[in-house]
């Protein structure tokens, strides 16, 4: 019963052992800390970089040119903004050379609110990142997908952006990662003893990795996590769990909600979304990035262009308030990003609406 941080760690270990992963680096990524969220503890290829985000992203691009497999971390996505031109550079390396240069590398960074992270530990990055062509962009909502998507990134020949929903990093999985101990309290304890670094002096500590197996979540494939036929909710990251709970609650009210976890933002699974919209004829897109020029607005545009005459209600977007940051106080954060109550209300309203 790994949590998402452990799943990421196990994926990186699998990458070191089986996928040629040679460098995992970033600020405090190496020993002794192993990442501020512990995602890189106990690995053999980790090292601490200078506190220099542009250097980190530039180095990752260069390693991509050298075809040396790397995963670089930006400690919080709030600090990736000064690398935008480099992300653009990495994303265009294949295109600008008319297909000559592949540039495989992975950047991972924690995103989103949900941990009372204040102004500079709560930003989202999906709206900005989805404006940069050439990257494959993923965001898992559970440990198994976190494992499978990271393996997919490490196998890909393109730049990949792995967005970690930080509020979910300590959430346990419900499905087993192939090779991990059983999904029981005992299994969870066992895994912790095997791969979590001890508190205090850890200079002599070495992890005991489970015999992990290959498991890939194909990039570009979303997943229906709740089936329904009255309204489609399309989301990713931590809002998958919120939307799923809302769907379960509404089922008891007789409202049938289909929840799609996009898992990949580029290239996204339009076939899955489109088929669901055709079925339910009502759709709500949800994410927590700021609402203006939000990725959900693109999905809304495509919905209108391709499904306008099939819709039974105007499509909606629930997204973060267009404000400079997430305020620290409970009420400020809650008012800034979509809450379960907002999703409940939106679902109830949309099923009431008739053409």
């Amino acid at each position: 019963m790994a949590n998402m941080a452990q799943a990421i760690r196990m994926a990186l270990h699998y990458g070191e052992k089986n996928l040629g992963l040679q460098h995992v680096f970033g600020e405090d990524v190496g020993p002794p800390l192993g990442g501020v969220f512990t995602c890189t503890q106990g690995l053999t290829t980790t090292w601490n970089s200078p506190l220099d985000e542009r250097g980190i992203v530039g180095a990752a691009i260069g390693l991509g040119f050298a075809n040396v497999r790397s995963v670089a971390e930006i400690q919080f996505c709030d600090y990736i903004y000064n690398t935008i031109d480099l992300l653009k550079l990495g994303g265009m390396s294949t295109w600008s050379t008319n297909g000559d240069w592949p540039c495989p590398f992975t950047i991972m960074t924690p995103v989103g609110a949900g941990i009372r992270g204040s102004i500079y530990h709560s930003h989202s990055f999906d709206a900005m990142m989805t404006h940069i062509p050439g990257f494959k962009i993923v965001m898992p909502s559970n440990p198994l997908d976190a494992y499978g998507l990271l393996l997919a990134c490490m196998k890909d020949q393109n730049p990949t952006m792995y967005l970690k929903p930080k509020a979910l990093l300590r959430v346990d999985g419900e499905e087993p990662i192939p090779g991990e101990p059983p999904l029981t309290a005992e299994g969870k304890k066992q895994l912790k003893e095997m791969i979590d670094a001890p508190l205090g002096d850890r200079s002599q500590w070495k992890p005991r990795w489970p015999e992990l197996e290959d498991y890939t979540v194909e990039i570009g494939k979303g997943k229906v996590v709740r089936e329904g036929d009255q309204v489609t909710v399309v989301t990713y990251g931590r809002h998958v769990l919120i939307a799923r709970d809302v769907a379960d609650q509404l089922r008891s009210e007789g409202i049938s909600v289909e929840v799609i976890d996009m898992r990949t933002l580029w290239p996204y699974d339009w076939n899955l979304i489109s088929a669901s919209i055709r079925k339910t004829r009502r759709v709500i897109f949800i994410n927590e990035d700021t609402e203006v020029t939000n990725f959900g607005e693109h999905l809304l545009r495509r919905t209108i262009e391709e499904h306008f005459y099939e819709l039974h209600a105007r499509p909606r977007l629930l997204a973060g308030a267009f404000v400079p940051g997430i305020g620290l106080a409970d009420n400020l954060e809650s008012a800034s990003v979509p809450q379960a109550s907002d999703i409940l209300r939106a679902c109830r309203e949309i099923v009431e609406e008739q053409p």
């Binding site: 090292w47 530039g58 180095a59 390693l63 294949t94 297909g99 240069w101 020949q157 580029w266």
Partner: protein
């Protein structure tokens, strides 16, 4: 006048310098004749860049040298064996342009077979991507090194400082030759009005990076300084910062007119005077070399004009590696 290099090498360098100069002048003509939208290039840097191109360990992969170049590097590429007609194809943005398929400006080279990573118009980001290939080359037994070049003005960017920091980390020193070709001006802003230090190379001292300033307009001084710097980086697996003082003979780019700038030292003329006085080449022979290249490249530019432009329906190709057509 006595040369240290042998005659064969001197003749080779001279030939490539003339070839580079004629190419740049041809590219400028193409721009002025509406056979290209923008020119930028490296006339004035031949005495330094040709010796550099000749000393590169050319090839693909970590055991060869990686080149992270800026947009004044045609003499390096020609010395490595690039064909002038391919530069003209990029100037004319034809589908046959091997560096970008008509997508990028002239002198924005990219050649995977030779470890020449894509040149970008973004100033100084090459010093960051260079960190990555150099990290790859810390692999045990690797003899390849990473070479990055850029101008003087770009060193004001934080990315240059990043390269100094990352290449000299005690935890992982990098086999990285950092070159600054200092032509004394950034577009229109004099370097001396923006930089108060003794030299750019001296910035390496703060990081314990071996460094040197040379006259990049002198062929032999450039050759031997590069030989020493490359040997040091290759064998010691540590960084070196080399500042070459060079000329900028046709201004910044077509944006500033691309006209010959009087008063700048011309490294090719200086070299030719020395070759003549040392009786390595005669004036007549050197004139003939230039005449032949002029004629050859004129014909090539005519050929390029007949080559097809890229089709608009290819814009989505290669957003992802190996992908063709619209991907969403």
């Amino acid at each position: 006048m006595k040369f240290k290099l042998d005659s064969k090498r001197l003749i080779q360098i001279h030939d490539l310098m003339v070839k580079s100069r004629v190419l740049e002048e041809r590219l400028i003509r193409m721009y002025k004749q509406n056979d290209g939208y923008f020119w930028i290039g490296g006339p004035g840097e031949e005495a330094f860049s040709v010796p550099l191109g000749l000393q590169v360990n050319k090839g693909a992969g970590l055991d060869h040298d990686y080149l992270h170049l800026h947009y004044r590097s045609s003499p390096i590429m020609l010395a490595m064996g690039a064909e002038p007609i391919d530069s003209m194809r990029q100037m004319k943005n034809t589908a046959t342009d091997p560096y970008s398929g008509g997508r990028n400006f002239a002198n924005h080279y990219s050649k995977r077979d030779w470890n020449v990573v894509p040149v970008s118009s973004t100033i100084e980001t090459q010093y960051l991507t260079a960190i990555g290939t150099a990290i790859g080359q810390t692999r045990k037994g690797c003899k390849g090194i990473t070479i990055v070049n850029g101008g003087d003005s770009g060193t004001a960017e934080g990315d240059f400082a990043s390269a100094l920091v990352w290449s000299s980390r005690p935890a992982m020193p990098l086999p990285m030759l950092m070159i600054v070709t200092n032509n004394g001006v950034g577009i229109s802003t004099p370097y001396c009005s923006q930089f108060g230090g003794e030299s750019i190379a001296a910035r390496g001292n703060a990081f314990g990076i071996k460094n040197r300033v040379i006259n990049g307009n002198d062929v032999e001084e450039s050759w031997f300084a590069l030989e020493e710097a490359i040997r040091y980086v290759r064998e010691e697996r540590k960084p070196f910062l080399l500042e070459a003082r060079v000329s900028r003979l046709y201004g910044h780019s077509s944006a500033s007119g691309a006209n010959f700038v009087a008063g700048e030292e011309d490294s090719l003329s200086l070299f030719e005077q020395k070759l003549e006085s040392a009786k390595v080449l005669t004036r007549a022979k050197m004139d003939k070399i230039r005449e032949d290249y002029n004629a050859q490249m004129l014909e090539q530019s005519k050929q390029v004009k007949q080559e097809p432009a890229p089709s608009g329906d290819t814009i989505y190709d290669h957003v992802y590696y190996g992908q063709k057509g619209r991907y969403w």
